[in-house]
């Protein structure tokens, strides 16, 4: 296998994973993920469905406990943290979930303001104003704030989820398949928002997608995951001449190649 490790930019690494493994029962999902994301960089992980992309960022976020290996955030090893310290670290994060994961018991504005209200203890009136501001950043009017998430279309839900992810102006933002399930135009709107907002906040971004249009728009660097490992990583400019058959098959969306879809085997 043509293995290329992430570049060794140790000093500036915002997120650094070494040999991260995770198995669910007998199913080994991650078999040794090495990944570095530098400050201010936008890293995109590509890979087929079910290859462990979401599991990777959930390990980094501490939502799933990885089995072995090391994950460092700003140089701090997360394995040894207690719940309190973990919550402290999570303040640096914003996360856009694959399915939005909006709180359906709360109106839209309170979803957006959630981190401000509860983690930052911003007073309600002020938090509401800030939420309206953030909604405007993703192109939604203040009247949307009063609606419940169930009343929104898919594209609007994604935008609200995006507004929630950025509301506390996090240092690191995670985007899990931000454009999946959207029409191409809405997908492009979301891509533009991601680029614009991460620039504006000067945030480090780690995204997941299998949408190549999205990759070309938002990535500074790309890492490809296959078989529970990062098998290639490099800058977006290099992706078309990676020389890696897995990457080539993926970016051209070909059914035949080294990656075999397990359609017949169980």
């Amino acid at each position: 296998m043509n293995e290329t490790h992430a570049p060794e930019g140790q000093s500036a690494a915002k997120i650094s994973c070494r040999g991260v493994t995770k198995a669910f029962g007998s199913k080994r999902v991650l078999t040794g993920v090495d990944l570095d994301v530098n400050v201010g960089e936008s890293m995109v992980i590509i890979g087929g469905s079910g290859t462990g992309k979401s599991v990777t960022i959930k390990c980094i976020l501490g939502l799933i406990r990885h089995d072995t290996g090391s994950i460092k955030i700003d140089g701090q090893e997360v394995n040894s943290l207690n719940t309190r310290e973990r919550e402290e670290i999570n303040r640096k994060f914003g996360m856009l979930f694959q399915g939005g994961a909006l709180f359906d018991s709360l109106p839209v504005w309170e979803n957006v303001a959630f981190g401000l209200l509860h983690a930052r203890k911003v007073p309600r009136r002020r938090a509401r104003d800030m939420a309206v501001e953030k909604l405007a950043m993703v192109g939604l009017g203040p009247d949307v704030g009063r609606l419940s998430p169930a009343e929104l279309s898919g594209g609007m839900q994604k935008r609200v989820a995006l507004a929630r992810a950025i509301a506390t102006e996090p240092e690191i933002i995670f985007f899990d398949e931000p454009t999946t399930g959207l029409d191409p135009i809405m997908a492009d709107v979301i891509n533009n928002l991601i680029v614009e907002i991460t620039r504006k906040l000067g945030a480090t971004a780690l995204s997941i997608t299998h949408d190549m249009a999205s990759v070309r728009k938002i990535a500074d660097k790309v890492a490809m995951i296959y078989g529970g490992k990062i098998i290639w990583s490099g800058s977006i400019k290099e992706i078309d001449r990676s020389g890696n058959p897995y990457v080539e098959q993926f970016i051209h969306g070909r059914a035949d190649g080294p990656i075999q879809m397990q359609v017949r085997r169980l």
């Binding site: 959930k58 976020l61 501490g62 939502l63 719940t83 919550e87 402290e88 999570n90 303040r91 994060f93 914003g94 996360m95 979930f97 694959q98 399915g99 994961a101 909006l102 709180f103 359906d104 018991s105 959630f114 981190g115 509860h118 983690a119 929630r164 506390t168």
Partner: protein
């Protein structure tokens, strides 16, 4: 081979034993973690208030209805029995005792297990499978504090009040049947009720209620929190919450009765 193993009764028993051990362990740690979060700040008092209204206020009709019919039927049935010994004057007291010690807390507990336990499991379970609980964590909010603690405390605080209401309405039900159907003298019925009712009868019922409220909420939260696998998983969690809540109500009813009244 696999089939053999499944049909082997020893293997079946062994597997059931192991899985019940591990779920007992998980429930234990869940309970301990919940309780430690009950006493450590920050507290979400708004959410606690919401839950108290949700559990308490909206359960009033159900609890009132079960109370009044339980009281009425008690009066009727004990009349059948006691009239054979010409001991009708004991009816008011029997009604009051049965309601305050047993039927009030148990019936209210069972109704609340159905209404509230199910709702908690369904809501928290849906939040689990749609990643809303993960979202809470990424927003630096502890799901135990935000979701579990308000519900457990609300159950603990609210159920005694509901049971007090059930007690009063149940005794009133007995009174209505006693006076309007069994031709008791109204003041004599009430005198007979109060004269033999001791504070301990009511207090034991309220202690039961607090324990039931906590257990029902615990079952709803636990099964919801650990649900997985989409709509079906949430459905299973809801069923488990109601069934285990109801069983725990009955088991602890016996345990607490034993603790209070057996010498």
């Amino acid at each position: 081979m696999k089939l053999d193993l499944r049909l082997n009764p020893l293997a079946l028993i062994g597997r059931a034993f192991l899985s019940s051990l591990s779920s007992a362990g998980r429930l234990f740690f869940f309970t301990v973690e919940s309780i430690t979060h009950c006493v450590r700040p920050p507290f979400f008092s708004r959410l606690l208030l919401n839950q108290i209204i949700e559990i308490g206020y909206y359960s009033l009709p159900v609890v009132g209805l079960t109370g009044i019919f339980a009281g009425m039927v008690l009066a009727l049935q004990s009349h059948t029995g006691f009239s054979r010994f010409a001991a009708e004057s004991a009816i008011p007291n029997v009604v009051a005792l049965s309601i305050t010690r047993e039927l009030g807390p148990v019936l209210a507990g069972l109704m609340v297990a159905g209404r509230v336990g199910a709702a908690m499991a369904a809501e928290i379970g849906t939040m689990r499978v749609t990643e809303q609980i993960d979202a809470l964590k990424t927003l630096s909010t502890n799901p135990f504090k935000y979701l579990i603690v308000p519900r457990l405390l609300a159950g603990l605080i609210t159920l005694p009040f509901l049971v007090l209401v059930a007690d009063i309405i149940g005794i009133m039900g007995g009174y209505l049947v006693g006076v309007y159907k069994l031709d008791f003298n109204a003041t004599a019925y009430l005198d007979n009720t109060w004269d033999f009712l001791e504070p301990m009868d009511v207090i034991s019922g309220l202690v039961k209620a607090a324990v039931f409220g906590f257990l029902i909420a615990l079952m709803g939260c636990y099964h919801g929190f650990n649900s997985k696998g989409g709509a079906q998983g949430v459905g299973a969690a809801t069923t488990n919450a109601v069934v285990s809540g109801a069983i725990l109500v009955l088991v602890f009813n016996y345990v607490i009765t034993e603790a209070f009244f057996s010498r």
